[in-house]
């Protein structure tokens, strides 16, 4: 299974095996990783699974769509590496993905 590195805002790293087809958000929630809320349950409707993708990985992830970009306007301190975890599906290519969580979601 692909390994995903979730780094909390305080720097604590969690390397988790996440099954393919799950989203990055689901991988975090199912493993009780703190820092991702996912209030809407993964429908791209709330911006509380906001993450920062590591710079080296950012271009390897399928491109962001308008609806996600719009939602990110409402996130806490978005930057150019911001994505929503619910919109990224884990694949073999994302094995080793590194991402950081913001200070807070809501």
């Amino acid at each position: 299974m692909p390994k995903i590195n979730y780094i909390e805002h305080n720097g604590k790293n969690h390397t988790i095996e996440v099954a393919k087809e799950l989203t990055v958000m689901e991988g975090a929630v199912q493993n009780n990783i703190p820092g991702i809320d996912a209030d809407c349950g993964g429908a791209c409707a709330c911006a509380t699974c906001h993450i920062y993708i590591d710079e080296k990985w950012f271009d390897k992830i399928p491109k962001i769509e308008d609806a996600e970009q719009d939602m990110l306007d409402m996130a806490y301190e978005p930057n150019k590496f911001s994505r929503l975890g619910c919109q990224i599906t884990v694949t073999e290519e994302l094995d080793g993905l590194v991402l950081k969580m913001p200070l807070k979601q809501a």
Partner: protein, 338 residues
């Protein structure tokens, strides 16, 4: 002090429909909601977006759904207490004593929490000076636009509120619109007008910029904004408006001694009661195995919770199962008996 059978927290579709289900059983309800209008997420988040999975309604937007639900509870003449948030609850013999942030007090044997994902609050600026200047130069809504006459204003955001206010206030003040990216998510025609105003020199637009700091001692004198490449700019300003959309917070509910699972309230699936007798949770806020966050599931949950409420509101009466098509009692309650 208001006495009722059921106090409903949340005026979203599920809260409104449970008024109807309670009404059919002869129970009275009062509804409290933190927002200034009825409809919850349907009105606040997607008033004009179509919904396709309401049973027997092939397509319907959030505003129409709310309007129709209100039509359906008309016979029950329900009071809605808007702009009000339930702050405290405590047990008072067979009743719950419920106090709002405006010190309104309700006594009811039942509470139905239909609060969605909590109460809506504006997303605020995260820079550290923001709290100090809140309502003293920093605003997240506008009550009277004349307060901004001839002022220097920076507006942040890329949605309809940010665009509409930038356009409107540019007629009476010196406005700079700042947004984190070049595209605006608000209505296309508003974005076009804003760009047109920019060309005519009526409005300044700064994208892709984000706030870096706020300057000023007793009052705001200016702000610094940063571009993605790190380039900084200072803008003299008197006030700052933030329109980053709404976030949802559970709020005081977490202090009521209810079991919580993350941001949801676990319930049984027989009558959607929580770990406290007489407190029920339905709609997006409740959780149980197989829970779906759909409006239609909330309607079902409301119907069963209403029956749960009956037990506490009419302890000495037996609840008879009846259909609206044939029950004279129900038809009388609905005012439709021929």
């Amino acid at each position: 002090m208001i006495k009722t059978d059921v106090l409903i927290i949340g005026a979203g579709p599920v809260g409104i429909f449970s008024v109807q289900q309670l009404g059919l059983l002869g129970l009275k309800a009062e509804v409290v909601d933190n927002l200034d209008k009825i409809g919850g997420q349907c009105i606040e988040l997607y008033p004009d977006k179509p919904i396709y999975d309401i049973p027997a309604v092939p397509e319907c937007d959030g505003e129409t759904l709310t309007k129709n639900l209100l039509e359906q509870i008309k016979p029950f003449k329900t009071n809605f207490h808007l702009n009000e948030r339930v702050q405290e609850i405590s047990k008072d013999k067979n009743n719950w004593k419920i106090t709002t942030n405006k010190n309104k007090i309700f006594f009811a044997p039942n509470i139905i929490i239909a609060a969605g994902v909590g109460s809506f609050e504006p997303r605020k600026f995260s820079v550290k000076e923001a709290e100090k200047f809140e309502n003293k130069g920093i605003f997240y809504s506008i009550k009277d636009k004349n307060n901004f006459k001839n002022k220097k204003i920076c507006i942040f955001g890329g949605g309809d509120s940010a665009l509409d206010w930038a356009i409107e206030l540019s007629k009476i003040a010196q406005v700079t619109l700042v947004h984190r990216r070049n595209e605006f998510r608000g209505a296309e025609h508003s974005a076009t007008i804003a760009r047109e105003f920019e060309k005519q020199g009526k409005l300044k637009i700064k994208t892709p910029f984000q706030i870096e700091s706020i300057e000023g001692e007793d009052k705001i004198t200016g702000i610094t904004i940063t571009k993605e490449d790190g380039k900084k700019e200072k803008i003299p300003t008197d006030c700052i408006l933030g329109f980053f959309g709404l976030i949802m917070k559970l709020g005081p509910i977490v202090d009521w001694g209810l079991n919580l699972d993350k941001k949801t309230i676990p319930v049984n699936t027989e009558n959607f009661q929580t770990n406290k007798n007489g407190i029920f949770a339905i709609g997006d806020i409740c959780s149980y195995p197989g829970k779906l966050k759909l409006i239609l599931s909330g309607f079902h949950e409301g119907a069963l919770a209403a029956r749960g409420c009956f037990k506490y509101a009419r302890p000495n009466e037996r609840l008879k199962f009846e259909f609206t098509t044939t029950s004279k009692t129900i038809q009388e309650r609905l005012g439709v008996k021929k």
